[in-house]
């Protein structure tokens, strides 16, 4: 049996300061199997994988590869041990072709695959020589790739394919994929799984890091669950259920259902009409977008990452230059209709529009990482009061309040927010935006990277706002969550609306098709409730 073990970890421990990222973790991966590593965020999945791929070195414990002890001190060492990692953020050169990226960093090999003489090959680049191998790899596993295509012309899933071929080309037998499906549509995910299964059948060992339960069930042979840096259990996928896995992940029983109340007398709050935006390069990023956000409902926005969600929210918030179209706001207190287009965030606030925005980039836009919680609370309100001095009294109170109410785990309110974990950062940001008692709340990927408990807390906060009559706009990536949480789901595909569906009736497949559809959604074809039959 031991012959069959590709890689074995024994007693691996890694600490960062006082934080124990991995505590005495054991792990076995057999040849020809797919192992899922499952766990909440911050449970040490990625740290563990980084130690296998040579980015970190363990404090304690041993790694055995094919039964022999191995020391992996650098990614190069990992490659020598035939380990390849596909990171969540691709590491590719945009202006190079697929083939050039694949051979990047390798020495030019004169003995090319078909045995040409040195003279014949010396005027060719490594990329030319590699093309044949790339094509044969593609045929073997069913990749769909053009080696000549430049990276910047590729879709996310194509880029991922290049990353996978890159490690295969370097001879990897153990592949580690860090949340490979986070950026893919359901259809692309299925295709990826097909490929992974083929690789497994040809004897490769595959480790997938994920926190999506249904994917674990769909693809893996075995599942290893980590919780707070510790190895909880490793089970056969066929002998477990999603609920059992979820319990292992969080260490407690929980219900996976998201509460959804009915909207209470919805009114038109924010109306967007024929909105167009053009990027600096002259590319259309928003194409004729029209929709209405009602008070007391959660409007979900689904779409492949980078389809214009960010630009849409930013143009409403006054951060993105609008080319044409209308953005109007109906003030619930005065009943006035305000135009928001071409206004700066400051002007919008001065109009009395209580618009809160939780941006996608939390530490790069919503918060200042090096400032403490109190100073971050002030971001929106520091201008109030006298002309010269800052007033830290109210922000301090707000900070204490948020830390207590949302149970933010932090050493204190004067800790820089970048030191907090992702979930706590998000609680601070959402807490601040909600504290402004908004009438419109826009949240872009508010649960990205959050563990189950924190995610549910965010859902509850959004629901609370909805009950208060706030028009909530929620940009999400997990379709299951969108379907469970939102009253209506708007699908956006390459800059235009491809459909608006009722959240209570939506099907995942239907959304998936809409996400990739190029057809523009036509309001006139739909019935009163805003449902549409997809294509």
């Amino acid at each position: 049996m031991s012959d069959n073990i590709a890689i074995e970890l024994k007693g691996i421990t890694k600490t960062f300061g006082s934080i124990v990222a991995n505590d005495n973790v054991d792990l076995k991966v057999y040849k020809g199997e797919i192992l899922s590593v499952l766990g909440e965020n911050g449970c040490g999945k990625t740290t563990l994988m980084n130690m296998i791929s040579g980015i970190y070195f363990p404090d304690k414990g041993n790694i055995y590869i094919n039964g022999e002890e191995a020391h992996i001190a650098s990614p190069k060492d990992a490659l020598n041990y035939k380990i390849g990692m596909i990171h969540q953020h691709f590491k590719l050169v945009d202006v190079f072709t697929a083939a050039e990226n694949i051979v990047l960093g390798l020495k030019k090999d004169y003995k090319s695959a078909n045995g040409n003489s040195r003279f014949k090959t010396m005027f060719k680049t490594g990329a030319d020589l590699a093309k044949e191998s790339i094509v044969s790899l593609s045929n073997k596993y069913g990749f769909d790739i053009d080696p000549e295509k430049k990276i910047y012309q590729m879709s996310v899933s194509e880029k991922q394919t290049v990353e996978i071929i890159k490690v295969l080309y370097r001879g990897a037998d153990i592949l580690i994929l860090d949340e490979p499906t986070a950026v893919l549509t359901p259809q692309e995910t299925e295709k990826l799984f097909e490929i992974l299964k083929k690789m497994r059948d040809s004897g490769k060992s595959i480790i997938i890091i994920t926190h999506k339960l249904h994917e674990v069930m769909a693809i893996s042979d075995r599942v290893t669950v980590l919780c707070k840096g510790k190895h909880v259990d490793t089970v056969k996928t066929s002998e477990t259920t999603p609920n059992a896995l979820a319990e292992m992940m969080v260490g407690q029983k929980l219900s996976l259902n998201i509460y959804r109340g009915d909207p209470v007398n919805p009114e038109e709050r924010l109306v967007v009409k024929n909105l167009n935006c053009v990027s600096r390069e002259g590319v259309k990023i928003l194409d004729d977008v029209s929709f209405t956000a009602y008070s007391g409902e959660i409007l979900g926005i689904a779409g492949i990452a980078g389809s214009g969600q960010r630009e849409l929210l930013e143009s409403i918030a006054g951060l993105q230059k609008v080319h044409s179209g209308e953005i109007t706001y109906n003030d619930p207190t005065t009943g006035k209709v305000e135009n928001l287009r071409d206004k700066t965030p400051m002007q919008i606030r001065n109009l009395g529009v209580r618009l809160s925005f939780v941006p996608e980039d939390r530490l790069g836009m919503g918060l200042v990482g090096n400032m403490d919680i109190v100073d971050n609370m002030m971001l929106r309100t520091y201008g109030k009061g006298g002309p010269f001095f800052l007033h830290r009294k109210n922000p301090k109170k707000l900070a204490e309040d948020i830390v207590e109410r949302l149970s933010v785990s932090t050493p204190g309110i004067s800790t820089p927010v970048r030191r907090l974990s992702g979930g706590n950062v998000q609680k601070v940001l959402v807490g601040r935006e909600i504290a402004a008692s908004p009438t419109v709340l826009m949240a872009a990927y508010p649960v990205r990277g959050l563990d189950i408990n924190s995610s549910y807390m965010i859902y509850n906060l959004l629901n609370e706002q909805k009950e208060k009559g706030v028009a909530v706009i929620f940009v999400g990536e997990d379709l299951d969550v969108l379907i469970e949480l939102c009253d209506r789901i708007m699908v956006i595909g390459s800059g235009h609306i491809t459909g608006i569906v009722d959240g209570r009736r939506a099907e995942k497949n239907e959304l998936g098709i809409l996400m990739t559809s190029s057809k523009k959604y036509d309001e006139n074809l739909t019935d009163e409730e805003g449902t549409t039959d997809a294509n």
Binding site: E68, E69, A113, E132, Y169, D361, D375, L379, L390
Partner: protein, 411 residues
Amino acid sequence: MQIKSSREPLFHLVKRDKIPWWKAWLIRIGAILLALVACAVISELITGVKPKDLFTTILHSWFGDADYREKFSIVQNRKFWILLQETAILLCVALAVTPAFKMRFWNIGAEGQVLMGCLASAGCMLLIGDSVSPSMLLVIMFIAAVVAGAIWAIIPAIFKAQWNTNETLFTLMLNYVAMQIVAYFCIEWAPSNGSNVVGVINRDLETADGGNYGWLPNIFEGFVKDVERPRMPEYAHIILIVLVLTALMFIYLRYSKQGYEISVVGESENTARYIGINVKKVILRTMLISGAICGIAGFLLVSGIEHTIAMDTVGGRGFTAIMVSWLAKFNPFVMIVTSFLFVIMDSGASKVATDLRVNESFSEVLTALIIFFIIGCEFFINYKIVFSRRNGKKLVSASNAVTSSDNDNSK
């Protein structure tokens, strides 16, 4: 397949979570002591200078030679007060560059901005002279210096805000422009043709109460009684002015709205836009302040110390100030310590070069060595080294790289 022996690395680095302040300072003091030991060893080895001679010479550079020290008294020790005054001027320039650096605006043009302040002060002193009252002249000089410094700083800021030009190159080049302008006026204002040296301005133009026109008066004159030839009053006024400026800058950066805006713009322009800060306005305003304080430094240099103008009046302080500011992590009060450190190192180094007859470059090597240790020790404050438990146990395992040719496609 090639068999390769792999060895566990001897040690690895671990990021520290938090370090108590006393431990951090212990590391810093340890680093300085180590640096001194290294200096002693290196000078012994390379130049044959005995460590004892080296350190006594450095001490002399701070407190004067032996006969001075016999009647050593803080108020009387001229050398020591010169050191403090030097510190004050360097600190003033460091205070000037700090708001810009906090905003991540890489202003390396303080040298030129201070020089323009010097030029404006000297120009007023020379051209206006006794046609206004002495105090009026000082006010005019001060304003002229502040405006000149601010103009020299706002030029790159405008280009940065409007067209996003690179401020590093821009401010650096403006230094040379400033120097050439000063060179021109040195020729223009030189009292004798061809000497190109301006000389002490208004030496003979005395005011009613015994001072000179355009020279900063000794407000502490007669302040210290009962002591023979007190030196303190000659220098204390400049030191006091800069200390007040330090406190003001600390308050501005930490407790004012504008200081808060500077931090936000510096940390992330996206966040600044997101909350509706006018980034261009903040850049322009901050550089105006930065340049104005450079102008003040120029005014103090000309009116309070040099009473003349030359191309090297600023003497590289504009660049040293950058190190002072960074090393203090932009905290004005810590800058008092760092600027003092740079001044005493500099004075020690030049004394070593002249008294011990070693090459001047060698004393610069010593200074660099000390700075290297001080900056280097920050690494050990942030990280700790963990040595592996089984030292260098050799083992043979794992195949070497499979070259790209015999990879998957050969299967």
